[in-house]
């Protein structure tokens, strides 16, 4: 509840409970008790709707959201791979994801690719599939990715011994689109001068979003939106910030930034905006699988995509839309796609008059002394600029 005044939002506690007890959260346990299968996905380019339409619960594989030792992850993956992939592998090796019936990855970045390889060799989840994800947005890239989605769908059908019907797919698209729309509304609240919900709280909601059935999540989120819009809560942050960069699930890191006087009002993270960003567009004359594949390839891009200008443009568009004073970039060490983009992104932001603070962190890290000093100095600079 960093720098957000007023009493708490009671609905937030439900999301927190999901995160606190994952993977033994009630919603997941009940699903499995009913005989439901659960598949883990490793990257936002994996089309969840296809998994859901097969009657399987898709959840996101993430690592420890807090700082922890990564002995197994380091031993199997070496320290020069990003701490997110090592943290995920660590959990896998320790049996924390033993309940998974399948794992689905994409050829998205080195960390994700190697995590998938090692997961298959050492964690041995029964079903595994990796999708080739093009790096371009050309028509042929879209055709390729559509083929990949179809191949994945077929693989699922063969493995599960069922047919994914058009009706099921349509239903799943509607469900996931509803979720995206609700999350958009949550973000819209943060456009307010004094948002009723903080960046850290939003991240807690998002973390829960990929750890439970969307049917339940959507209902809870609708209730939260209702509660938040009626609430008198107001953020007391002094400057408006946008968070960009590597994968992040540690709400405490966001809370730490907000504790220094920042208001994280939007972001460009694969665990938040890039996760829910764009809907699957129906009624465009495309088949359902094609509509899905187009959405995933055209979605708010990861740094892996080319040209990077597409990502930069959308970051700037969001920064302007949310009236941010500055951008905080956090790059997990050895997250090379984002590291490569930094010099070019900084230049683009500078041209738009938006200052950027670049932080090197480890996945799961909270604000250490040095980070604190830098964040404080950045916020002070933004405040001075405002005056």
């Amino acid at each position: 509840m960093a720098n957000v005044q007023d009493s708490g939002l009671s609905m937030l506690e439900r999301f927190r409970e999901v995160n606190r007890t994952f993977p033994r959260n009630r919603e997941l346990v009940e699903w499995r008790d009913r005989g439901g299968k659960v598949f883990g996905w490793l990257c936002t380019y994996v089309p969840e709707e296809v998994i859901h339409a097969a009657g399987v619960l898709p959840i996101r594989i993430v690592g420890y959201s807090q700082e922890t030792d990564l002995d197994d992850g380091n031993a199997y993956m070496y320290v020069n791979n990003c701490s997110f992939s090592r943290s995920c592998l660590q959990l896998g090796l320790r049996g924390e994801y033993d309940f998974l019936d399948g794992v689905v990855g994409g050829s998205t970045c080195d960390g994700a690719r190697r995590l998938f390889d090692l997961w298959r060799q050492y964690v041995r989840t029964p079903f595994h599939h990796v999708l080739t994800v093009p790096r371009k947005y050309t028509d042929r890239a879209h055709m390729l990715y559509h083929c990949e989605v179809l191949e994945f769908k077929q693989h699922l059908e063969e493995y599960l011994g069922l047919k994914i019907t058009e009706e099921a797919l349509y239903h799943s698209i509607l469900l996931y689109n509803e979720s995206r729309e609700l999350l958009r509304k949550l973000y819209d609240l943060r456009k307010q001068e004094k948002p009723p919900i903080s960046g850290a709280e939003t991240m807690e909601v998002l973390n829960a979003s990929f750890r439970m059935p969307k049917e339940v999540f959507n209902q809870w989120l609708a209730d939260l939106l209702d509660e938040a819009s009626r609430s008198e809560r107001k953020s007391s942050g002094r400057v408006r910030l946008m968070l960009v960069g590597s994968v992040l699930t540690n709400a405490d890191f966001v809370r730490f930034i907000e504790d220094q006087g920042g208001m994280v009002v939007t972001d460009e993270l694969c665990t938040s905006t890039r996760y829910w960003g764009d809907p699957v567009v129906l009624d465009s004359g495309l088949s359902l699988t094609e509509a899905i594949s187009r959405r995933y390839l055209n979605n708010f891009p990861c740094a892996r995509m080319f040209p990077s200008e597409e990502r930069f443009d959308r970051i700037i568009q969001a920064a302007l839309g949310f009236r941010v004073d500055g951008v905080v970039s956090q790059t997990i060490r050895y997250c090379v796609p984002y590291a490569h983009d930094l010099p070019l992104l900084e230049k683009r932001l500078r041209e738009c008059g938006i200052p950027m603070l670049a932080l090197d962190i480890e996945y799961g890290t909270s604000g250490s002394g040095q980070i604190k000093t830098r964040v404080q100095a950045f916020i002070e600079m933004l405040e001075a600029k405002r005056r």
């Binding site: 020069n80 190697r114 090692l118 990796v130 080739t132 890239a141 390729l144 083929c147 930094l342 010099p343």
Partner: protein, 421 residues
């Protein structure tokens, strides 16, 4: 200042090649193929240096890029990663270009061949290409390197988006990407693709692969006839001269020399004590030292499953573009950088048996996340076959990462271990 530095760095490489050739000529045991190799290397970099003044169109390209197309269009290729590590090989110190990369804001996590490369362009240590081509065939560093280079060199560029797997629709996509790239090159260079020439190059590349396979067959012999670190020559020839007449001449000469050596029972090291499998690339600045160590201990690399061990498959001159696409999946390194399936892992096991491997050396380049992420996996596979693995932490370009003494100590201990077994 800029042009002076450019001349200096390339000139250093060229002068070093000349020096090595002079030394080899004076060495009665030197093989003709070695002389040819350094002559090729010298000419490759001299061509880059001359490109601007001779009206050549200089094309920078990343590792494993299908340079066959560049050659077929009569353009001048510049293999960027090889340029960086050749600088490291011949100068021993890349601190200036690494510092230049850092000044651009390039993070430490970006591997030194790429940090050094962009730094070299920024400082003028390498000539700016007329166009930059890069791909996602290896890792995020290659896939992400192009845009900053375009910015630094003020040149246009093209990303070749190569699909991860090799289904028919993926190969089709790659062919279409190659077609787009040819259009891009034609537009920018004003030169037309010579399809007959590409077919000839593909036919020669097919022969080139076949020759490497035959050379590897000869390396199975005990004692093995090929020099301890000789595989780096095979690698460089493959990278810089795909389907080029000089590459065939070199490989045919080498094959002949090795055939003779086998017939006469001559080994590369005397006596041959340890037959090694090598993973990844040794630090360039330690090459001379590693060669001496190998000879001192009778240790020789007999196979490199992910560098020289070509898989099955042939290239067809009648389908040049499809063959270039297929080759990208046949390249030995792609077994490691592509989906790490059973086929890739079985290649390691097969190599242990076929090449009578005693031990493996894994050069764990701190900047290479892909190769480091498989250390344990490969080590486990080798352990099941009773083959120990030595992991040498290093950096292929940055000489400050691993001192020579540390590597010496590790190698000595490893050879002792092998001896005891």
């Amino acid at each position: 200042m800029t042009s002076q530095m450019t001349e200096n760095k390339l000139s250093v490489i060229i002068r070093a090649c000349r020096l090595v050739r002079r030394m080899l000529r004076a060495d009665p045991e030197a093989r003709r193929s070695q002389l040819m190799y350094y002559s090729m290397l010298e000419e490759y970099f001299a061509r880059i240096l001359r490109a601007k003044e001779e009206g050549g169109f200089l094309v920078g390209h990343t590792v494993f890029f299908p340079a066959e197309i560049i050659y077929a269009m009569g353009l001048v290729p510049m293999h960027t990663e090889t340029a960086t590590w050749t600088m490291a090989l011949f100068t021993g110190d890349c601190s200036d270009i690494l510092a230049s990369g850092a000044r651009l804001g390039m993070a430490q996590e970006i591997c030194t061949p790429h940090r050094g490369l962009t730094g070299a362009f920024a400082s003028g240590a390498l000539p700016h290409p007329d166009v930059m081509l890069w791909s996602n065939m290896v890792c995020d560093n290659t896939a992400k390197s192009g845009e900053l280079i375009m910015e630094v060199c003020h040149c246009p560029g093209f990303l070749l988006d190569r699909p991860f797997k090799r289904s028919q629709h993926e190969i089709g996509y790659l062919v279409s990407e190659l077609e787009d790239m040819i259009c891009f090159l034609e537009e920018r260079s004003g030169r037309k693709m010579d399809w007959d020439k590409l077919s000839e190059i593909v036919a020669r590349m097919d022969r080139q692969i076949e020759l490497v396979r035959q050379i590897n067959e000869l390396r199975k012999n005990v004692p093995t006839p090929f020099r301890p670190q000789g595989f780096l020559e095979l690698l460089t020839v493959d990278y810089l001269f795909p389907g080029q007449p000089e590459a065939l001449e070199y490989l045919e000469t080498l094959h002949q020399e090795l055939t003779e050596a086998v017939r006469e029972g001559r080994g590369a090291v005397k006596p041959e004590r340890f037959r090694l499998m090598t993973f990844f690339i040794p630090p360039m600045y330690l090459m001379g030292f590693l060669d001496r160590m190998s000879r001192q201990f009778g240790a020789v690399s007999v196979i490199e499953p992910f560098f020289t061990y070509w898989g099955e498959g042939r290239l067809e001159a009648s389908r040049p573009l499809e063959s270039v696409a297929m080759k990208s999946y046949m390249i030995p390194e792609m077994r490691m950088y592509g989906p790490l399936d059973e086929r890739a892992l079985n290649a390691i096991v097969q190599c242990v048996d076929d090449y009578k491997v005693d031990g493996a050396i894994y050069y764990a380049d701190v900047g290479c996340r892909h190769s480091c992420a498989t250390i344990k996996l490969f080590k486990d596979i080798l352990a099941e076959k009773g083959v120990p693995t030595l992991v040498v932490d290093c950096d292929v370009v940055d000489s400050t990462v691993t001192p020579e003494d540390e590597v010496r100590e590790k190698l000595e201990q490893f050879f002792e271990l092998l001896e005891e077994r």
